[in-house]
């Protein structure tokens, strides 16, 4: 059966202009997954079932298939290249547009073949949300896991898992449930909380735009429902200002600093500080051409500004608000998780170049902390001197001059960079730690702080840290029991939840918890959204999932409803106690 198209093109609403959502910028969706798990088929089907195919397109492909003597496949729609049709593999990222009643979409088709990882990364890095495909008959495969990990690393926060080819397993709920269990388990170890799982047969259109008659046991929506439920990520206008200088123009006797506002906002009259260097000046004007005059510009805008006092500023410098906002960190050491796509391995000590926003600086890999397989999360302990193609690693770079940056969980655009090797963009990095408040030329020890962290840990007898409670169990009740237990065991504790910080989101709760941890306390955080941040920005960070069974390597799982509150709290204490206390001595000398 062919599903009825459910969009404007077939139903003709009054006029297209009436639908405001269709005027908004489209949501960018990337579809990823193991090779041959049906990504292109899903896209082809989705286009057909939403009435988004150009006239004659399907017929043209059918004719071409006939000529080639191959059966018609939906995937051919996306595979515009002849060579692709021959190989039956999507070789590069392609994009196409379609619309549901609710809004417009751009689908980015990312190839699953391992050789084409860089294309998958190119596709996924620009997506607002992702569908991750797993074929029901093959189950979770290497690329299913690797792509899940890379999505998390690239900062794609909305992920829905599509279990495809359900027709091949007779629409069996048990198969679906097993895949969901296995993959959720994996995702939880990397801090990804998928929005849901959906059983689909892309080839036959089951649960694509129409509910399938074969999956009565499934209570959720169709793929189009899932897409319509994704949220358009808001521009980060409330975050601290980051205005990276792209170029400086001298036009008509004006000296204009051109660049894009990566986060926050700036207004005429604002006092800005430029990093590295720390020179300050005031915004005199925001320049425009053939547009209304403006006095404020916000995240996402490419602007030009003039300053009232002329100071030395160049491309790669970043402006932050001089007062009242967190400034970017400045350092010549950058700690990051990197993925490597280069043919040549990245060796410790070999000169490369780092590009972060508009900043470019020669750099060397100073140290590899660990290299691991993104699909198994297995650590290659012996690998200490190089990172090979397709490896993921935690490393530290040292740069020739200091650069200004952020931790990615604080401000994403200035918390990530690419690595250029020779002429090629060969790797990407996500910064997980940034030395805020420490001047670039100051010694590593934060001597300007009135009370140092080592003094604090000597006073309290342990380091500060954050216990982050996620999961669907009774978190508040458990948090209270846990604080009592930890306090009795000698810890200086604190608790943060969204009730305390009115209307706070996860980021605000994390920022507050981080501050308390820096003050030396052990802070129990109850975030409003039950997800674990990928980069906490705290050395001692302990995610604890409340209420779901099964352990995982990185996240401690407790089930107070099963074991009782006291036992569950004991489990947490046993896990973190030694880590926080043991650290004190070594840590003291390290700093």
């Amino acid at each position: 059966m062919t599903a009825q198209p459910k969009t404007k093109s077939s139903q003709q609403p009054a006029t297209p202009e009436d639908n405001q959502a269709l005027e908004a910028a489209p949501l960018r969706i990337v579809i990823v997954g193991h090779v041959d798990h049906g990504k292109s088929t899903l896209v082809g089907r989705l286009f057909h079932d939403t009435g988004s195919l150009p006239e004659g397109k399907k017929e043209a492909i059918e004719k071409s298939c006939e000529r080639r003597g191959v059966p018609f496949e939906w995937a051919f729609l996306m595979d515009a290249f002849k060579s692709e049709r021959d190989q039956n593999i999507t070789i590069d990222t392609a994009q196409i547009w379609f619309a549901t009643d609710k809004r417009r979409y751009v689908i980015i088709d990312a190839p699953g073949h391992k050789e084409f990882l860089k294309n998958m990364i190119t596709g996924a890095a620009q997506a607002d949300a992702a569908l991750l495909l797993i074929a029901a008959d093959e189950g979770v495969q290497e690329q299913s896991r690797r792509h899940g990990y890379l999505l998390s690393m690239l900062g794609v926060k909305q992920v829905f898992v599509v279990v495809n080819k359900m027709d091949r397993v007779g629409y069996d709920q048990a198969v679906f449930d097993n895949i969901e269990r296995e993959y959720r388990q994996y995702l939880s170890t990397i801090g990804v909380d998928p929005l849901g799982f959906i059983p689909v047969s892309a080839r036959d259109g089951d649960n694509v735009a129409e509910r399938s008659p074969h999956t009565g046991w499934y209570g959720g929506g169709t793929i189009t429902d899932v897409l319509d439920d994704f949220e358009v990520p808001a521009r980060d206008e409330k975050a601290p200002l980051r205005f990276y200088v792209q170029d400086i123009y001298r036009f008509d006797h004006r000296r204009i600093l051109a660049g894009r506002i990566e986060s926050g906002s700036l207004s005429v009259g604002d006092k800005l500080v430029f990093l590295p260097g720390g020179k300050e000046s005031t915004v005199q004007s925001i320049e425009t051409w053939s547009a209304p005059e403006k006095t404020t510009a916000v995240a996402g805008e490419s602007v030009g500004i003039t300053l009232s006092e002329q100071i030395f500023v160049e491309r790669g410098h970043v402006a932050a608000q001089a007062e009242g906002e967190q400034r970017a960190a400045t350092s010549n050491r950058v700690k990051a998780r990197v993925f490597w796509m280069g043919q040549k391995s990245l060796d410790v000590g070999r000169p490369v170049k780092i590009k972060l926003c508009t900043a470019e600086v020669p750099a060397k890999l100073a140290r590899i902390d660990r290299v691991f397989d993104a699909s198994t999360l297995e650590v290659h302990t012996s690998q200490k001197d190089k990172i090979n193609k397709n490896d993921v690693a935690e490393v530290e770079f040292v740069t020739e001059q200091p650069i200004a940056f952020d931790a990615a969980d604080v401000i994403a655009p200035s918390g990530r960079f690419v690595v250029v090797d020779g002429y090629d963009l060969a790797g990407g990095g996500v910064i997980y730690d940034a030395p805020y408040d420490v001047a670039a030329d100051a010694p590593a020890a934060p001597s300007h702080l009135p009370v140092s962290s080592e003094e604090r840990s000597r006073r309290f007898g342990h380091q500060g840290g954050v216990v982050w409670l996620s999961g669907k169990g009774p978190r508040l009740e458990f948090a209270r029991a846990l604080e009592r237990q930890l306090f009795d065991a000698g810890f200086a504790t604190a608790m943060v939840d969204d009730g305390l910080l009115e209307g706070a989101d996860n980021r605000a709760v994390l920022a507050c918890a981080r501050q308390l941890a820096k003050a030396g306390l052990l802070c129990i955080a109850i975030p409003p959204e039950r997800v674990v941040p990928r980069f906490a920005g705290v050395a001692q960070f302990f995610p604890v999932r409340v209420g779901r069974e099964g352990d995982s390597p990185d996240t401690l799982v407790v089930d107070p409803e099963q074991t009782g509150l006291a036992d569950a709290a004991d489990k947490v204490l046993a896990h973190i106690g030694p880590r926080l206390k043991r650290g004190v001595e070594e840590w003291f000398y390290e700093i």
Partner: protein
């Protein structure tokens, strides 16, 4: 009209256009900063006219590099008139190149001595290569969009071309977080595509909002027909349309399901004609 009176749909559209504009301006400024010698391929069509407007946005009214036009001598006459008038009015440098050798030898499709694709290859692709090598450009802007057709959907913002101008679509550099390929081997050059993320409807919405001048043949020419896509006269056909303004075109496009380049005959000659032309260096 106060802000409150602006319909919600209009505000959403403006926000979406602002976003497209900001991204294009970022790309244009990036290329201008990173390459010594840049030029912009100006086909005189609606897309490259929008691109030219975005250059003026990026540089506050200035046009700091030359516009390049590959003139096959078969273009729709109104295009050439529009080209010369605008160059004078906006006072920018215009470089025009024609493959006179082939044109004079009459080995062209209109003369019946070549297929359409062979004709395109000689009069467009070869002339384009000549314009780039004669002037020594490191980078040239081209106003292609991903939604135009399949091969263009796979393009990058910064797309390297080999020494023989070829495009290796199977081994393209990764492009993430708006970090583009700006380091390249001597002898190769980069095609920069600031409009990659725009759609045909976006182009018209922007033309309408900004009041950008376009060749008048895009509108109903008085006989109920207009051009949807501009090219050489012998290979480009008109569509039946009463659209007289950019606004009319927007309404029309939102209802149509016919592909934009369907009026360009060379694309239809062979299934992979366009793909081959592009791989060999056509824009």
């Amino acid at each position: 009209m106060s802000l409150d009176e602006v319909p919600e749909s209009r505000r959403e559209r403006d926000l979406a256009l602002d976003k497209l504009e900001a991204q294009s301006v970022f790309v244009i400024r990036e290329a201008f900063k990173k390459f010594d010698k840049v030029g912009m391929l100006w086909s005189i069509g609606k897309d490259s006219s929008v691109m030219l407007w975005l250059v003026r946005k990026a540089f506050f009214g200035h046009i700091p590099f030359p516009m390049l036009h590959v003139d096959t001598q078969y273009k729709i006459p109104e295009m050439i008139k529009f080209r010369d008038e605008l160059a004078k009015k906006w006072n920018f440098e215009l470089i025009v190149e024609t493959n006179w050798e082939v044109y004079n030898s009459k080995k062209t499709f209109p003369e019946g001595n070549a297929t359409r694709v062979e004709c395109c290859s000689a009069l467009k692709k070869d002339a384009l290569q000549a314009i780039i090598s004669k002037n020594g450009f490191d980078a040239v802007f081209a106003g292609i969009r991903r939604d135009e057709e399949g091969t263009r959907a796979k393009e990058r913002y910064f797309s390297p071309r080999g020494k023989a101008f070829e495009w290796d679509f199977k081994d393209q550099p990764p492009e993430l977080w708006d970090q583009f390929k700006t380091d390249f081997e001597p002898g190769t050059h980069i095609r920069v595509h600031p409009l990659l993320h725009w759609t045909e409807v976006n182009i018209w919405e922007y033309i309408e909002r900004e009041g950008i001048p376009v060749v008048p043949v895009y509108y109903d020419m008085g006989d109920g027909c207009r051009y949807r896509s501009l090219g050489c006269e012998p290979c480009t056909s008109r569509v039946e349309s009463p659209a007289k303004t950019a606004e009319d075109i927007i309404v029309e496009l939102k209802r149509t399901k016919i592909a934009e380049r369907s009026t360009r005959a060379q694309d239809q000659e062979a299934e992979d004609a366009f793909e081959r032309l592009r791989a060999e260096g056509y824009m």
